[in-house]
Protein backbone atom coordinates (compact mmCIF):
# COMPACT_ATOMS: atom_id res chain seq x y z
CA UNK A 1 0.00 0.00 0.00
CA UNK A 2 1.05 3.54 -0.58
CA UNK A 3 0.20 6.22 1.95
CA UNK A 4 0.49 9.98 1.92
CA UNK A 5 1.89 11.22 5.20
CA UNK A 6 1.62 14.69 6.63
CA UNK A 7 3.98 15.15 9.55
CA UNK A 8 3.29 18.18 11.72
CA UNK A 9 6.35 19.17 13.76
CA UNK A 10 5.86 21.51 16.70
CA UNK A 11 8.01 22.63 19.59
CA UNK A 12 7.12 21.03 22.92
CA UNK A 13 4.80 23.15 25.04
CA UNK A 14 7.01 25.23 27.30
CA UNK A 15 9.86 25.54 24.82
CA UNK A 16 10.04 29.18 23.79
CA UNK A 17 9.02 29.73 20.18
CA UNK A 18 10.65 32.94 18.88
CA UNK A 19 8.94 32.56 15.51
CA UNK A 20 5.47 32.14 17.03
CA UNK A 21 5.95 35.11 19.38
CA UNK A 22 7.15 37.35 16.57
CA UNK A 23 4.11 36.44 14.47
CA UNK A 24 1.85 37.00 17.48
CA UNK A 25 3.30 40.47 18.05
CA UNK A 26 2.90 41.36 14.37
CA UNK A 27 -0.74 40.29 13.99
CA UNK A 28 -2.39 43.18 15.92
CA UNK A 29 -0.30 45.75 14.05
CA UNK A 30 -2.01 44.49 10.88
CA UNK A 31 -5.46 44.70 12.45
CA UNK A 32 -5.77 41.00 13.32
CA UNK A 33 -6.92 41.16 16.92
CA UNK A 34 -8.00 38.40 19.30
CA UNK A 35 -5.45 35.90 18.02
CA UNK A 36 -3.24 34.33 20.66
CA UNK A 37 -1.05 31.33 21.51
CA UNK A 38 0.70 31.36 18.14
CA UNK A 39 3.10 28.45 17.65
CA UNK A 40 4.99 28.09 14.37
CA UNK A 41 6.22 24.64 13.41
CA UNK A 42 6.91 22.86 10.17
CA UNK A 43 5.09 20.41 8.02
CA UNK A 44 6.74 17.55 6.15
CA UNK A 45 4.78 15.74 3.44
CA UNK A 46 5.89 12.43 1.97
CA UNK A 47 4.74 9.17 0.46
CA UNK A 48 5.46 5.84 2.12
CA UNK A 49 5.01 2.25 0.94
CA UNK A 50 4.04 -0.22 3.64
CA UNK A 51 1.93 -3.35 4.12
CA UNK A 52 -0.58 -1.51 6.26
CA UNK A 53 -1.18 1.76 8.01
CA UNK A 54 0.17 0.61 11.38
CA UNK A 55 3.48 -0.39 9.81
CA UNK A 56 3.70 2.89 7.94
CA UNK A 57 3.05 4.80 11.14
CA UNK A 58 5.64 2.83 13.07
CA UNK A 59 8.33 3.49 10.47
CA UNK A 60 7.50 7.18 10.35
CA UNK A 61 7.62 7.42 14.14
CA UNK A 62 11.11 5.95 14.00
CA UNK A 63 12.10 8.45 11.30
CA UNK A 64 10.75 11.29 13.43
CA UNK A 65 12.57 10.06 16.52
CA UNK A 66 15.94 9.72 14.81
CA UNK A 67 15.92 12.39 12.14
CA UNK A 68 12.82 14.37 11.22
CA UNK A 69 12.46 15.96 14.67
CA UNK A 70 14.82 16.83 17.46
CA UNK A 71 13.02 15.13 20.37
CA UNK A 72 14.78 17.42 22.82
CA UNK A 73 12.63 20.33 21.66
CA UNK A 74 10.11 19.02 19.12
CA UNK A 75 7.27 16.51 18.78
CA UNK A 76 5.54 15.24 15.64
CA UNK A 77 2.01 14.25 14.89
CA UNK A 78 1.49 12.06 11.84
CA UNK A 79 -1.57 11.96 9.61
CA UNK A 80 -1.80 9.14 7.06
CA UNK A 81 -4.15 8.79 4.12
CA UNK A 82 -4.20 6.12 1.43
CA UNK A 83 -2.57 7.52 -1.69
CA UNK A 84 -4.34 6.87 -4.95
Amino acid sequence: MKYRAVIDVQLHPGIADPQGSTIERALPTLGFDSLSNVRAGKSIHLDIEADDEATARERLEQACETFLTNPVIEAASITLTEAS
Binding site: L11, I15, A16, P18, Q19, F67, L68, N70, V72, I73
Partner: protein, 219 residues
Protein backbone atom coordinates in the same frame (compact mmCIF):
# COMPACT_ATOMS: atom_id res chain seq x y z
CA UNK B 1 53.56 17.13 18.05
CA UNK B 2 49.92 16.55 18.77
CA UNK B 3 47.45 17.51 16.09
CA UNK B 4 43.95 18.94 16.15
CA UNK B 5 41.62 17.64 13.44
CA UNK B 6 39.17 20.26 12.18
CA UNK B 7 36.08 18.72 10.60
CA UNK B 8 34.84 20.02 7.29
CA UNK B 9 31.33 19.17 6.09
CA UNK B 10 29.93 20.49 2.82
CA UNK B 11 28.94 24.01 3.91
CA UNK B 12 31.44 24.42 6.74
CA UNK B 13 33.15 27.81 6.41
CA UNK B 14 35.28 28.39 9.52
CA UNK B 15 37.64 25.42 9.20
CA UNK B 16 40.60 27.33 7.75
CA UNK B 17 40.25 30.17 10.28
CA UNK B 18 40.32 27.55 13.01
CA UNK B 19 43.41 25.84 11.59
CA UNK B 20 45.11 29.24 11.26
CA UNK B 21 44.26 30.26 14.83
CA UNK B 22 45.62 26.99 16.22
CA UNK B 23 48.78 27.35 14.12
CA UNK B 24 49.14 30.90 15.44
CA UNK B 25 49.42 29.42 18.93
CA UNK B 26 52.17 27.05 17.80
CA UNK B 27 49.77 24.12 17.53
CA UNK B 28 49.30 21.77 14.63
CA UNK B 29 45.95 21.34 12.91
CA UNK B 30 44.64 19.59 9.84
CA UNK B 31 41.33 19.45 7.99
CA UNK B 32 39.27 16.26 8.23
CA UNK B 33 36.69 15.61 5.50
CA UNK B 34 33.28 14.55 6.79
CA UNK B 35 33.50 11.25 4.93
CA UNK B 36 36.76 10.34 6.70
CA UNK B 37 36.38 7.84 9.49
CA UNK B 38 39.99 7.52 10.61
CA UNK B 39 40.89 9.76 13.54
CA UNK B 40 44.14 7.94 14.33
CA UNK B 41 46.21 10.92 13.16
CA UNK B 42 44.64 13.46 15.49
CA UNK B 43 44.57 14.02 19.25
CA UNK B 44 41.57 16.32 19.41
CA UNK B 45 38.66 17.25 17.15
CA UNK B 46 37.13 20.65 16.45
CA UNK B 47 33.85 20.80 14.55
CA UNK B 48 34.09 24.22 12.96
CA UNK B 49 31.36 26.72 12.23
CA UNK B 50 29.37 27.19 9.04
CA UNK B 51 26.27 25.65 7.56
CA UNK B 52 26.96 21.92 7.41
CA UNK B 53 24.85 20.29 4.69
CA UNK B 54 23.13 23.64 4.23
CA UNK B 55 21.55 23.47 7.70
CA UNK B 56 18.56 21.81 6.00
CA UNK B 57 15.84 20.42 8.25
CA UNK B 58 17.67 21.74 11.36
CA UNK B 59 21.28 22.86 11.83
CA UNK B 60 23.31 19.72 12.44
CA UNK B 61 20.43 17.34 11.70
CA UNK B 62 22.02 15.90 8.56
CA UNK B 63 25.64 16.44 9.61
CA UNK B 64 25.24 14.08 12.54
CA UNK B 65 24.81 11.23 10.05
CA UNK B 66 28.05 12.00 8.18
CA UNK B 67 30.46 9.06 8.37
CA UNK B 68 32.99 10.94 10.54
CA UNK B 69 30.46 11.46 13.32
CA UNK B 70 30.51 7.80 14.35
CA UNK B 71 34.26 8.08 14.84
CA UNK B 72 33.88 11.40 16.65
CA UNK B 73 31.32 9.84 19.01
CA UNK B 74 33.67 6.90 19.71
CA UNK B 75 36.61 9.27 20.28
CA UNK B 76 34.48 11.41 22.60
CA UNK B 77 33.55 8.34 24.63
CA UNK B 78 37.21 7.38 24.93
CA UNK B 79 38.02 10.83 26.35
CA UNK B 80 39.44 12.68 23.35
CA UNK B 81 38.82 16.44 23.50
CA UNK B 82 36.00 17.35 21.08
CA UNK B 83 34.97 20.97 20.63
CA UNK B 84 32.06 22.25 18.55
CA UNK B 85 32.09 25.91 17.61
CA UNK B 86 28.79 27.50 16.54
CA UNK B 87 27.43 25.12 13.87
CA UNK B 88 29.74 22.53 15.47
CA UNK B 89 27.88 23.03 18.76
CA UNK B 90 24.60 22.46 16.92
CA UNK B 91 26.02 19.26 15.38
CA UNK B 92 27.12 17.96 18.79
CA UNK B 93 23.69 18.55 20.36
CA UNK B 94 21.95 16.88 17.40
CA UNK B 95 24.36 13.96 17.77
CA UNK B 96 23.43 13.65 21.43
CA UNK B 97 27.03 14.28 22.53
CA UNK B 98 25.95 17.41 24.40
CA UNK B 99 22.65 18.09 26.20
CA UNK B 100 20.05 20.60 25.03
CA UNK B 101 19.41 22.14 21.63
CA UNK B 102 19.99 25.41 19.78
CA UNK B 103 16.86 27.29 18.77
CA UNK B 104 16.21 30.34 16.62
CA UNK B 105 17.36 33.53 18.34
CA UNK B 106 14.86 35.49 20.37
CA UNK B 107 13.77 38.34 18.08
CA UNK B 108 14.51 36.22 14.97
CA UNK B 109 17.61 38.16 14.02
CA UNK B 110 20.91 36.85 12.75
CA UNK B 111 23.43 38.32 15.19
CA UNK B 112 27.00 39.03 14.17
CA UNK B 113 28.77 41.03 16.86
CA UNK B 114 31.31 40.89 19.65
CA UNK B 115 29.95 39.75 23.01
CA UNK B 116 31.32 39.76 26.52
CA UNK B 117 31.61 36.06 27.40
CA UNK B 118 32.15 35.03 31.01
CA UNK B 119 34.12 31.93 31.91
CA UNK B 120 31.97 30.04 34.43
CA UNK B 121 34.06 26.91 34.73
CA UNK B 122 37.70 26.25 33.94
CA UNK B 123 37.16 22.52 34.27
CA UNK B 124 36.67 21.52 30.61
CA UNK B 125 38.70 20.62 27.53
CA UNK B 126 38.36 24.21 26.31
CA UNK B 127 38.46 26.47 29.33
CA UNK B 128 41.41 25.08 31.29
CA UNK B 129 43.76 27.97 30.47
CA UNK B 130 41.26 30.68 31.42
CA UNK B 131 40.39 31.89 34.89
CA UNK B 132 36.95 31.61 36.47
CA UNK B 133 35.00 34.83 36.10
CA UNK B 134 37.25 36.07 33.31
CA UNK B 135 35.38 38.08 30.65
CA UNK B 136 36.35 37.49 27.05
CA UNK B 137 35.53 39.65 24.04
CA UNK B 138 34.56 37.13 21.34
CA UNK B 139 32.14 37.46 18.41
CA UNK B 140 29.03 35.42 17.80
CA UNK B 141 27.66 34.88 14.31
CA UNK B 142 24.44 32.91 14.25
CA UNK B 143 20.68 32.73 13.76
CA UNK B 144 20.11 29.60 15.82
CA UNK B 145 22.18 30.03 18.96
CA UNK B 146 19.39 30.29 21.49
CA UNK B 147 20.34 27.45 23.83
CA UNK B 148 17.33 25.62 25.20
CA UNK B 149 16.71 22.61 27.42
CA UNK B 150 14.12 21.49 29.93
CA UNK B 151 14.28 22.57 33.58
CA UNK B 152 15.63 19.23 34.76
CA UNK B 153 18.51 19.39 32.26
CA UNK B 154 19.27 22.98 33.25
CA UNK B 155 19.34 22.00 36.91
CA UNK B 156 21.67 19.11 36.21
CA UNK B 157 23.95 21.31 34.08
CA UNK B 158 24.17 23.70 37.04
CA UNK B 159 24.68 20.96 39.63
CA UNK B 160 27.47 19.38 37.60
CA UNK B 161 29.18 22.67 36.71
CA UNK B 162 28.64 21.93 33.00
CA UNK B 163 27.84 25.51 32.01
CA UNK B 164 31.32 26.64 31.03
CA UNK B 165 30.59 29.97 29.28
CA UNK B 166 27.77 32.51 29.62
CA UNK B 167 26.85 35.80 27.96
CA UNK B 168 27.23 38.86 30.18
CA UNK B 169 24.41 40.52 28.23
CA UNK B 170 22.24 37.74 26.76
CA UNK B 171 21.89 38.50 23.02
CA UNK B 172 19.75 35.59 21.82
CA UNK B 173 17.44 34.35 24.58
CA UNK B 174 19.53 31.36 25.69
CA UNK B 175 18.28 29.82 28.92
CA UNK B 176 20.59 30.63 31.81
CA UNK B 177 22.52 33.01 29.48
CA UNK B 178 24.33 29.89 28.27
CA UNK B 179 27.02 30.40 25.62
CA UNK B 180 28.81 27.09 26.08
CA UNK B 181 28.38 23.76 27.85
CA UNK B 182 30.39 20.59 28.33
CA UNK B 183 29.39 16.96 28.76
CA UNK B 184 29.56 14.98 31.99
CA UNK B 185 33.11 13.86 31.33
CA UNK B 186 34.10 17.48 30.48
CA UNK B 187 36.00 16.47 27.30
CA UNK B 188 33.22 17.48 24.88
CA UNK B 189 32.52 21.21 24.75
CA UNK B 190 30.17 23.25 22.56
CA UNK B 191 30.03 27.01 22.32
CA UNK B 192 28.30 29.53 20.07
CA UNK B 193 31.02 32.25 20.19
CA UNK B 194 33.86 31.95 17.67
CA UNK B 195 37.25 31.93 19.46
CA UNK B 196 39.06 31.61 16.12
CA UNK B 197 37.62 34.99 15.11
CA UNK B 198 39.19 36.58 18.18
CA UNK B 199 42.66 35.15 17.70
CA UNK B 200 44.69 38.15 16.52
CA UNK B 201 44.81 41.87 17.26
CA UNK B 202 43.98 42.51 13.59
CA UNK B 203 40.61 40.82 14.17
CA UNK B 204 39.79 43.19 17.02
CA UNK B 205 40.41 40.78 19.88
CA UNK B 206 42.82 38.05 20.93
CA UNK B 207 40.59 36.79 23.72
CA UNK B 208 39.70 33.59 21.88
CA UNK B 209 43.28 32.38 22.19
CA UNK B 210 42.95 31.53 25.86
CA UNK B 211 40.24 29.02 24.91
CA UNK B 212 42.16 27.51 22.00
CA UNK B 213 45.27 27.33 24.17
CA UNK B 214 43.17 25.52 26.76
CA UNK B 215 42.24 22.97 24.09
CA UNK B 216 45.90 22.45 23.10
CA UNK B 217 46.82 22.01 26.76
CA UNK B 218 43.98 19.51 27.27
CA UNK B 219 45.48 17.15 24.70
Amino acid sequence: MSTVGVVRFPGTNCEFDTVEAIAGLGGSAEILWHEDTDLSGVDAVVIAGGFAHGDYLRPGAIARFSPIMTSVADAAKSGMPVVGICNGFQVLTEAGLLPGALQKNRGLTFINEFQAIRVESTNSALTGAATEGQELDIPINHFEGNYTCDDATLASLRDNDQIVLTYVDNPNGSVGDIAGVCNDARNVVGLMPHPERASHALLGSEDGNVLLRGLLEAI
